[in-house]
Symmetry: C2
Subunit: 262 residues, 2 copies
């Protein structure tokens, strides 16, 4: 039996995306690779799971049989669930998701299919990392990502991650030599200011396209947005205990149970 780590690879742009092909290439230098990824793009799907539809899984022929690949008709979170419960014959040592075509820094983590896969693995107790490159294009150049993806993955394999934490890694879209290093950050307070593009169908019915402008509201120098703007790779430890623990004390000063229930 192989002593190499078992690496589960997934993404949200779909199994044919250049980003996941780069991720697979790097992971093959580290361990045994099994890919379970959506058969079509799932961007913006958040932490969706498929409750009301059937899921199909198909094994893909891999040249030279260097690793195993499966596509799934579901979401990134579905892929992780299916991999862990049905496809893999042992628990993966790590789950890596991406490399996403486009930023998942700051508030984007909330909408991110890439990160939902990593979070799903984290919920399962598997160390997990989501990787994203700050370039939305299909033909983005992932060359500079490789070294950082490898370094961070090897660090996680070596050190493990604290329970309840996964990593959100974003990489600036610049030459490798221009990247200053890796910075541990917090999620910037940011927002999308939506501007809906309102149009009419040929038959005269109104419809909308969602568009918007990204606004960083956070002047801090310890944020992922700051790091990326200053040519660092950002690493944010992300948790799925969403409790705002600091707010509990304050809410307990409210008179919920003295209020008349009318």
């Amino acid at each position: 039996m192989s002593k190499k780590p078992l690496i589960l690879v997934t993404n949200d742009d779909g199994i044919t995306a250049p980003g996941i092909r780069t991720l697979i290439e790097v992971m093959l230098t580290i361990g045994d690779v099994v890919v379970v990824a959506p058969n079509s793009p799932q961007s913006g799907k958040g932490h969706a799971i498929t409750l009301d539809a059937t899921l199909y899984v198909e094994q893909i022929e891999v040249p030279h049989k260097t690793h195993l690949e499966y596509t799934c008709s579901g979401t990134p979170a579905d892929c992780v669930k299916l991999a862990v419960r049905e496809i893999l014959d042992r628990r993966p040592d790590i789950c890596v998701s991406g490399i996403n075509h486009g930023s998942n820094a700051s508030i984007n983590v909330i909408y991110s299919g890439t990160m939902s896969a990593a979070i799903e693995a984290g919920i399962e107790g598997i160390p997990a990392i989501g990787f994203s490159l700050l370039n939305y294009n299909w033909d983005a150049n992932f060359e500079a990502c490789k070294t950082f993806v490898k370094t961070i993955t090897k660090n996680v394999l070596q050190n493990g991650l604290q329970e309840g934490i996964v990593l959100n890694v974003n990489i600036p879209d610049i030459a490798k030599t221009a990247i200053k290093g890796i910075k541990i950050c917090r999620q910037a307070r940011a927002n999308w200011v939506e501007a809906f593009d309102k149009r009419k169908t040929p038959s005269g019915k109104d419809y909308y396209w969602l568009t918007g402008e990204f606004v960083n509201l956070d002047g801090g120098e310890d944020t992922d947005e700051w790091a990326l703007e200053h040519n660092y790779v950002s690493v944010v430890p992300v948790k799925f205990d969403l409790t705002a623990h600091h707010a509990i004390q304050h809410l307990n000063t409210w008179n919920f149970n003295n209020t008349e229930h009318t």
Copy 2:
């Protein structure tokens, strides 16, 4: 102009669900109500947004014109974005989502469309609450919810919420007289242990249904699961800064930037 608060109502079970009808009924006793809700069930959609498809909005005729109702072809998060940017002529004073048919306590918050709507409003800086009843059935009895929904909503309108926080409220499915009160809680550490139901299509192709068993891994008596089991309404303050701040210090001890980048 009305001095009453403007209340945006949405959900993820769709605009015809009994849960949202109860929520509208309660909100009409508190303020001016505008409903913008999905035209079909969106359960398990997590924090999905519609990036790759057109969105339709349709105004619904409301008997006696007590309030305004719109349906949207998108997700709960889309509904909030559309309401704030396109439909409402002023910012709502509060956004309430639900009442969901089924629990959104503990880890379910991650997968919840109900909570994604509340979180989307929170990102917009609007005080927001997601309400859920622990009964998945369409014909669940929401009678006991009313008093608690009203009390909590009025408290939030009166006190406001700290920035970056929304409330996740779950209500046990028992008689009102059996409910002991409202408890501020943290999110329980829990998990779904998936068991995929593997079947074959008539033509012999494998497919899966996602099923699973909920497992509470958390023995604490300050969790939402504990409160619900002990006949309390649980209120968890939820945040959308997912940073695991306590992990940053630890990650900074790693040798990311001394590792040879190969």
